[in-house]
């Protein structure tokens, strides 16, 4: 029983050989890709392993504090970013092996010519509660 974040980056980092940006796919290929994602989430729901998901808009910015009485400094929007988070999914599974198995499945989503995109997914454990029996 552990929660994991599956982090999906806009450009599979590092980019796979033969990677084509989505706007150069056929409309049918885009539909098939989105359908794969939807089906994947549905399977997780059905398996009782789904916690949540969200897609993120690409146009964001960096913000930081700039000292007393001054407005925060902003940087962006990003023109060209190598590593931009596109979305995330949180799963609740029995252990790390299952999290890796599911991430592998999600990475097999079809892309150009219906071939798996082999996109890298970042898998990060969420912190749980400290266990009661410790010594």
């Amino acid at each position: 029983m552990a929660k994991y974040l599956l982090l999906k980056h806009y450009r599979g980092a590092p980019t796979e050989p033969g990677f084509e940006p989505m706007d150069r796919w056929t409309p049918e290929e885009i539909t098939a890709h989105i359908q794969y994602m939807t089906d994947f989430a549905d399977r997780l729901r059905e398996a009782g392993e789904f916690v949540g998901e969200n897609a993120l808009a690409p146009d964001g910015m960096w913000v930081r504090y700039d000292g007393e009485g001054r407005p925060p400094v902003t940087d962006g929007p990003f023109a060209e970013t190598k590593d931009l988070i596109a979305g995330y999914m949180i799963i609740d599974v029995d252990g790390p092996e299952r999290a890796i198995e599911l991430a592998g499945e999600l990475s097999a989503a079809p892309g150009k010519d219906g071939k798996p995109i082999h996109e890298w997914l970042e898998v990060r454990p969420l912190y749980g509660e400290p266990s009661l029996v410790a010594e």
């Binding site: 729901r45 398996a47 009782g48 949540g52 009661l132």
Partner: protein, 383 residues
């Protein structure tokens, strides 16, 4: 009259057992009992029944028949069920026990077994279980219905392995979040109920273990939410009633001379509970119990915990020597190593190891605690 929820839920396994004995299949009977519990909340506060169990059996059975009737495809089963002579509505201890075994069935994954046990034996609603484990209610509902499908063919009349049941209860106790439903209290309640149905020293051992650890709960967290390690806990805040009960249950279990891992873990917890201050802890005896636990489980995690006890009993050098025999990849290895190096008078190495341990912690309070330990040692070196 306010509803005694724990009392109501204690009736759940018995009522479910009666329905199954009358011929209802487990999955449908379990749904019917949950629906009856909804009625309890609606009706009992204003109009409490004289015979709560009988009331629950009647309502749950009616719900079961309604559900069966509403599905034309199941009509044949309904006829078969109604033809069978209805046994009396008196729950039997054996049935409660069989439910524990069924819900901890080896074909279920740990998370499924936990969820099913909390619902079918514990009488918690799907929503309560979902909230306790921080997942959406729909997800928990799917997990439970899948678990029911997995065990659909399993028979209810065979004795199972006590060990699997105890592992499920231990998981509920040890790995729950602290939300509205107190899973620690629920695990203790379920373990008590199991002990009433099954006379087994390891069931008693687990109950003792739970009571002894739960007793320290008020002292293990500071007001700001940070973790307080055992040695630094204010022992006057330990629950002495729970400790006394745990020790008494443990002693009775140990006297039967059928040792098991939960009794041994409880014995270690009892020795900690027995010390008026950390300095008065009987580490020599604790090491002996750890030797026993290593023999029983062979677990590397147990060996690592034993290292700490060895260091307390024979000094940090002995602890470091014992640590050298273990694999550095073990969870909490770096934290143990850090502690031993600090005790051995090497704060620089200890600080580095505490920082390393913080990076591999599995909970936020644990990470923050280890980070503070590293910071404390580094600050001391600067002065």
């Amino acid at each position: 009259m306010p509803l005694d929820e724990a009392l109501v839920r204690s009736l759940v396994p018995g009522v479910l057992g009666v329905l199954v004995r009358r011929g209802a299949d487990f999955a449908a009977a379990e749904d019917a009992v949950q629906e009856a519990l909804v009625e309890v909340v609606r009706v009992w506060p204003a109009d409490p029944p004289r015979d709560p169990t009988g009331w629950l059996v009647t309502v749950a059975w009616r719900r079961f028949l309604d559900a069966t009737r509403s599905e034309a495809a199941r009509r044949r089963r309904e006829e078969r069920v109604e033809e069978e002579p209805a046994p009396g509505p008196v729950p039997e201890a054996d049935e409660t026990l069989q439910l524990y075994f069924l819900c901890a069935h080896p074909s279920l994954s740990p998370s499924s077994a936990v969820a099913l046990t909390l619902r079918a034996v514990g009488g918690l609603t799907t929503r309560q279980i979902a909230e306790a484990y921080l997942v959406p209610e729909a997800t928990m509902a799917q997990r439970i219905s899948r678990a029911k499908r997995t065990i659909a063919g399993a028979r209810l009349d065979r004795p199972g392995d006590v060990g699997t049941v105890l592992r499920v209860l231990y998981l509920v106790f040890n790995e729950g979040y602290s939300g509205d439903v107190d899973l620690v209290a629920e695990a203790i309640r379920l373990c008590r109920q199991l002990r009433a149905a099954l006379d087994h020293p390891e069931v008693a051992g687990l109950l003792a273990l739970m009571l002894l650890h739960a007793a320290r709960r008020p002292a293990r967290t500071a007001p700001d939410g940070s973790l307080v390690p055992l040695a630094a806990q204010d022992r006057s805040r330990w629950d002495t009633t729970a400790i006394a009960e745990g020790v008494q249950i443990l002693q009775t279990a140990l006297s039967r001379d059928r040792l098991g891992e939960y009794q041994v873990q409880a014995a270690i917890a009892a020795l900690h509970a027995d010390a008026r201050s950390a300095a008065e802890t009987d580490w020599v005896q604790i090491v002996e119990w750890y030797d026993e636990l290593v023999r029983l489980t062979g677990s590397p995690v147990v060996r690592l915990n034993r290292v700490v006890a060895v260091a307390e009993s024979d000094g940090p050098r002995a602890g470091l020597a014992a640590l050298a025999e273990l694999a550095p990849g073990l969870p909490r290895y770096a934290a143990v190593a850090a502690y031993l190096h600090e005790r051995d008078g090497d704060p620089a190495t200890a600080a580095r190891l505490y920082a390393e341990a913080a990076r591999s912690a599995t909970s936020l309070p644990e990470r923050d605690h280890l980070t503070r330990e590293a910071a404390r040692l580094r600050a001391a070196q600067l002065t």
